[in-house]
Structures are given as C-alpha cells and as structure tokens.
Symmetry: none
Subunit: 231 residues, 2 copies
C-alpha cells in the first residue's frame, strides 16, 4: 500500500505561467503533465488520465469550457479552472459546467496547492476512476471518439441514449436510480418523468441487446432504477 504519486495535468498556453506551475507542483511531489493547447490537452487526458487538471481558460485554439464539458462526459477527475477573468459570470459558467474550483490570477502557490489537496481529497473519497474507453462484455464505449460498438459493429446512438449508456457504464454493476439518471441527463427539474427512461431505455436495448425482450446487460430494478451488469 504505497502512496501513489498523483499526476496533475496543467493546461496553459503561456510559458512562464506554465513553468511556474510546474515548479510549484513538482516541488510538492506531484507528477506534472503539460499541454499548451486544447488539442494537446485532449490527447493527454485520454491517453494518460491524470488525477487532477489545472485548466486555463484563455487558450489559443478554443474555449477551455469545451474541454471541460467533454471530459465531464466520462470522467469525474477534479478540474480546477485557473483564469485571469474574474467576472462573476465566468466563474458561474465554469463551475456549472463541471469545474470543481475557480482560481483567479494572480494567486498564491500555497493556496493553489491547498485547493489541489481538497480536490484530490474529494476524488479519493468518491473512488470511481474513469477510463476514456470502457468495455462491458461485448459493449465498447469510446468517449474520445464518441462512439459505441457492440461485438465490433458500430452502433448509432442518439445523444440521450449515449449519455444514458455512458452514465451506466461509469458505474458498472451499480444501480442508478431513476432520479439520478433523470437529473444527469435531463436536468434537476425532470426528476419525476420516469416515463422518459422507459422509452429511451427501450430504444437503447433495441440497439445493444441481442434479445431486447430479455435484456442481458441493461437490467431494470423495478421501482428503483437501472443497472448495467458487469460479469
């Protein structure tokens, strides 16, 4: 049971800032991965998922929030946004998009480190580690490509179907309640429309089950929710 070294991905285009962050993190025992653009960041995050992400919003090739949202589809790894923008709107947007914290430049090293510790504490308590590609039996969910295959054959899923499957895959074996699924996919105001689930789960079964009437993978727990069998 040796303490694993956490790696932090730094997404930042300005070189001096990047060097500063690298030094601060490395000197406190973190492994540091770096990306100077969205493209690089996306590659880094899928190829070697880090334990935490420091994300600068002012990137040359696009909005950092896009990356954030993309990552949030399959990973719960903590993301701390580091930005020069200190308008409240920016903060709210980022936090609601899935960021775990928002730090405005300039900031102190020790505060940054403390907030990283908080983020890692949360991630550890929660446990679930996520891979960009998940395999359950014959079902393969590739988040980077946004693609699902069953037994090697590509399957087209609608946005809602994809999100449902992704959520279930993220918690293989566990039951997700109606409420949880509805909140994640349709938003907090739709937690009683359980009929949505019936319709879309049926559609999902038609696409990923050999015999949709006798589901082998997508199990329903009557009165509770749905579950993706692991086995």
């Amino acid at each position: 049971m040796t303490e694993p070294v956490d790696t932090v991905l730094v997404v930042e285009d300005e070189v001096p800032m990047r060097r500063f962050l690298r030094a601060a993190l490395a000197s406190h025992g973190f492994r540091v991965a770096e990306a100077g653009s969205l493209r690089e960041a996306e590659r880094a995050v899928t190829e070697a998922p880090p334990q935490a992400i420091l994300l600068d919003l002012g990137l040359p090739d696009g909005d950092g929030l896009d990356l954030l949202r993309r990552v949030r589809e399959w990973s719960t790894a903590p993301v701390i946004v580091v930005s020069a923008r200190e308008r409240e709107d920016d903060k709210v947007t980022a936090l609601d998009a899935g960021a775990d914290d928002y730090l405005t430049k300039p900031f102190g090293t020790s505060e940054l480190l403390a907030r990283i510790r908080v983020a890692l504490r949360h991630a550890r308590a929660q446990g679930g580690s996520a891979e960009p590609v998940m395999v359950i039996g014959p079902i393969r969910v590739d988040h980077a490509r946004h693609e699902v295959t069953v037994g090697g054959a590509a399957v087209h899923l609608t946005p809602i179907e994809f999100r449902l499957l992704a959520l279930l895959a993220q918690h293989v074996g566990k039951v997700l309640t109606h409420r949880q699924l509805l909140r994640e996919v349709w938003g907090p105001r739709a937690t009683q429309h359980t009929h949505y689930l019936r319709v879309h789960m049926a559609a999902l079964r038609r696409k990923i089950e050999a015999d949709p009437a006798r589901p082998r993978w997508l199990a329903t727990e009557a009165g509770v929710g749905y579950r993706l069998r692991d086995e």
Copy 2:
C-alpha cells in the same frame, strides 16, 4: 417520494450578512437554518444535519475551525468557509482542516450559489453516508448494487422487502418497532397497518431463512417489532 429540498446551515454572527445570505439562499429554493454562534451551530448540525454548511470564521465564542474539525470527525457534509480574512495562510489552514471551499468577503450572490451547487454535487456523487455493503451471518446486503446474497447465492427481493431488510441490517441486533418500520417504508400515514409487516416479513423469511418457520435471523419481538440477530 417527494423531491428533497436541500437545507443549508448558515453560521454567521453579523445580522445583516445573515439576512443577506438567508435571502439569497431561500430565493433559490434552499431551506435555510441559521446559527449565530458556535454553540448554536453545533446544536443545529447534530440535531438536523444540513446538506451543506456556510461557515463564517469570525465568531464571538471561539474559532470556527474548531467547529469544522469537530464536524469532520463524523460527517463529510460540505463546508464552505466564508470569511473576511483574505490572508493565504488562513485559506490554507481552513482548507486543510477539511473545508471544501473558501470564499472571501465581499463576494457575489451568484458565485456563492454556484459554489454551493458544486459542493452539493460532490456530496451527491459521493453517495449516502451508509456503508455500501453490510454482512450479517450469511446475509450480504449491497446498497450500491441493490443486491442481496445469502450464502453466496443472489436472492431477488421486492422493493419493500429490500427496504425492510436494509433497515433491520442498519440496526443489527436492535429491535425496530412496528411504528418505526412502517414509517420508514410506507410513510408516516401507515403506522397502524401492522398487518403489512406480517405479510412482508413472512415473504422475506421465505427468501433468506433456511427454515422460514423457525427463523434464525429475522426474529419477531411479540407486541413490539422485529429484529435482525447478529449471532
């Protein structure tokens, strides 16, 4: 089965600030509990555990960090520190003491609310406070998977049976009265239908007892309630 309203405990001694916070929170659908001192806060937190805590550090009767540490010993409820002190040391100390976020006054309403949403999101993702899996003799109750096994074999329980068993398992060895069981499973309006219990307990025994006529685990305390033996 109604949508639960999250309650936020505001620990703050200055009245105007408290009123401001109360207004901001209440108008966004939160229930608000208030405390003006450490003493009050401690009482509030143990008597009616809130889903999140807003903690001001400058309290008249002691350091807010003491409260934080005390609470952290038994609860993981998110704590957001709200303080006028903006020295980095203060932030680091609070965060390392278990705070989930640190906001310096003055701050905007919308940012505060966004950060509360983040905190609640974390708390929810982390799941209930209960142990995920309980073991009583050969009986295994796995909450996350919503699955019960007896001697290794999976047993299918109906929703009501599952909730009954889960309740009893949560208090192994202790007697749960008819009233308690009925209230938890059927709601407060059904506390006199003790016949429900007889029927469903019988069904439960058929599924988890080797000899349902001579129950080894699910004991009945005549005139009082039921109990799950801890051997």
